[in-house]
Symmetry: C2
Subunit: 411 residues, 2 copies
């Protein structure tokens, strides 16, 4: 099924549509939407995949036909392929508030990258029994944390966000590592990095963050917040493409002591010496593993260009404008739906998405998709709307609210 709006179906109230167009007209970021191959759909889905940039296929052709074919294995050296895990990492660093040489894209999936980081984090606190995690975490974080705890013979403690802080205060000296996320993947509710990280440090625990639902839309200021270790995916707001490789953050101060289990040859101090013994690189390169999946790395690298150009604070500003306008349109069109908001009302307490409680979520999601509006049902009762700063416009938001209201009226 190609998702495509049926002609004439989306007709928001003229007032809000005019207002949407006015806001897009004055917003310097609105023009970026033309760079993306949205195929006529309105992308408010916050899960793995937004639209590709229209120039991606040409970029892949340039790499395959212009680099690989003529230079083959030498392209690793002559075309910067071997440096990509680090150059892409540094670009990500600029979105994350991390100075150069502290972020790396090894080429693994997010789950595996988290495994690598959590294991290394626990090793930095060998005498503490507890690995603490938020119960609201994305499921794979729970699975991986459980696996790491089992491998290292630690106790996995799962707490709600409230209980998490309490546990740290009451039992913090038992905690080796505390894993949290700055944005709840269901409700979009923010979690401030600074106080949790500071609380971890006060009790001597390591603070690890999964930034997947924040990166590219919310400033996280990793260096300023003294975060210990972090990971995040390459898709969602980064738009790096299906299954784009994940990133690892290791601040300079931990690079001499961290000890990753995925000690593949690319993380060696001298990978091409082909030595029999592993000696990790003494910088961020130690977070490398094996030979990285280059085509997917190229996809991620290509996606970053407009995000870097705009900068994280403008990306955040635009996303808040869009989600705020969504609520204004709801207030105009069907104010009772505002009572179904499962997210904080204040934009600064949300990440890039918000959620509404709606009956028959799968039916509503399908009705929206049939009208060219892509959202995520999160059963049993949530519909998630994400506001990617560069390819969503105010006009699309107004249209989406109209489609949503019709869908809910039709239940």
């Amino acid at each position: 099924m190609t998702v495509r709006p049926e002609s004439g179906v989306t007709m928001p109230s003229t007032g809000m549509l005019d207002e949407a167009r006015r806001r897009d007209e004055v917003d310097p970021l609105a023009e970026y939407a033309r760079e993306f191959a949205t195929d006529g759909a309105i992308h408010l889905n916050g899960n793995s995949l937004g639209p590709p940039r229209g120039s991606l296929a040409a970029e892949l052709d340039r790499v395959v036909t212009g680099q690989w074919a003529p230079r083959q294995v030498q392209a690793w050296f002559q075309d910067g392929w071997l440096d990509l895990p680090r150059t892409v990492g540094d670009k990500l660093g600029s979105l994350l508030g991390a100075g150069p040489g502290q972020v790396l894209v090894a080429g693994e999936t997010t789950s595996t990258t988290l495994f690598n980081v959590l294991t290394a984090a626990c090793r930095l606190r060998p005498d503490r029994p507890v690995l603490l995690i938020e119960g609201e975490s994305f499921p794979t974080d729970l699975y991986i944390a459980d696996s790491v705890a089992r491998l290292l013979d630690r106790e996995l403690v799962v707490e709600t966000r409230t209980g998490f802080d309490e546990y740290l205060r009451d039992n913090g000296t038992q905690v080796a590592v505390a894993l949290a996320a700055p944005v709840d993947f269901r409700t979009g509710e923010r979690r401030e990095l600074r106080p949790i990280t500071a609380l971890c440090h006060a009790v001597g625990a390591l603070s690890v963050w999964d930034l997947s639902h924040a990166t590219g839309v919310l400033p996280v200021d990793l260096d300023a917040n003294a975060v210990d270790l972090a990971v995040g995916c390459g898709y969602k707001y980064l738009g790096g493409g299906p299954g784009a490789p994940a990133f690892t953050y290791v601040p300079t101060r931990l690079q001499s002591t961290v000890d990753f289990p995925l000690s593949g040859w690319h993380g060696h101090a001298k990978p091409f010496a082909m030595a029999q013994t592993f000696i990790p690189a003494d910088d961020i390169n130690q977070a490398r593993t094996g030979t990285p999946p280059l085509l997917s790395l190229v996809g991620l690298n290509h996606a970053l260009a407009p995000l870097i150009e705009v900068g994280i604070h403008e990306l955040h500003r635009r996303s808040k404008d869009l989600s705020g306008f969504f609520l204004e349109c709801l207030a105009d069109r069907r104010p009772e739906l505002l009572h179904q908001l499962a997210s904080p009302e204040v934009a600064d307490r949300r990440g890039g998405h918000l959620a509404l409680r709606v009956p028959q979520v799968n039916k509503v999601e399908s009705a929206l998709a049939d009208n060219g509006v892509l959202v995520d049902a999160r059963p049993p009762d949530l519909i998630r709307f994400a506001f990617a700063p560069l390819y969503v416009t105010h006009e699309q938001v107004a249209q989406a609210v109209d489609v949503l209201c019709r869908a809910v009226e039709g239940l």
Copy 2:
């Protein structure tokens, strides 16, 4: 630097060139070479990257423009993306002598895939202290085995190929897992899977194989040889592209007991139920980890089509013909170089490559590259020549030998 033969430089003796052309003319596989974008170079390098198929850029465009852009996240379901780890796995299975549902491409690097498999293998023998590995292994295998041994508190024993067998015979009941490779990555010397695997089983150890230097050029008959677990890269003879993701082999008989540490959500029995507890899939899907890097998976899938069409036995036959012809040309042109063969003389005792001992290997490698012949120097004294069945021709082999002889004469 674009590697390209200088006009008129390669002129093998007319006799061998005529013979080469005659052999290409009668070989039904010779025509495949036209499918590859070799850019005029002769690819005898056996490391990570041969030439791409000429149709790859169009295939990537088809996926980006024809699937991702119009269907976005729904392409995971509607275009078979979610099944690719398994459909690509089954295609690989046909090259590996593995029945359907036993090979999977999770999307991780080779090093990480080996970590996952070695850890799971050790867990199947919880009471045995030793992880045994060949000293001739590719370095990353040594690094990863060391990491796994350290994590699981096992003893890593590194033995030469000869000592490896002896160790198994003498101390086999101490061995949890024995890791070997069917082809020595330096010399190309084969290692029969059947007797080592049988020896492992006789002493109750698990037999794990790194198939990276064999897959796509040498039959390994995993099912028939009763191999326990195996991994391999997606590049080298598979041609899956730079850093193409690795594969995992788990025979049906072990799928109910194997326990992987990289328990990402894609390996869950019901990934989209988003449950809090990890329950692994009861089939090969348990070898999945996180969301796989799709563009690189597409590259691997595209590379497999001609290999599957030809079949592993014809691929092997053609590679042996080419390497045998290489030695014939050497005998004709400079027979004393045959004494420098570091590999078995008999083709059936080699994998897809062979190596010569040569002084100043880096200088020779460069001289060859300057004349459009790509090989691998393996310092201190080896030059490796690999004979990929589908893009190397007899005519190229004759030309390469001529260039090699001139380079050696010029030392």
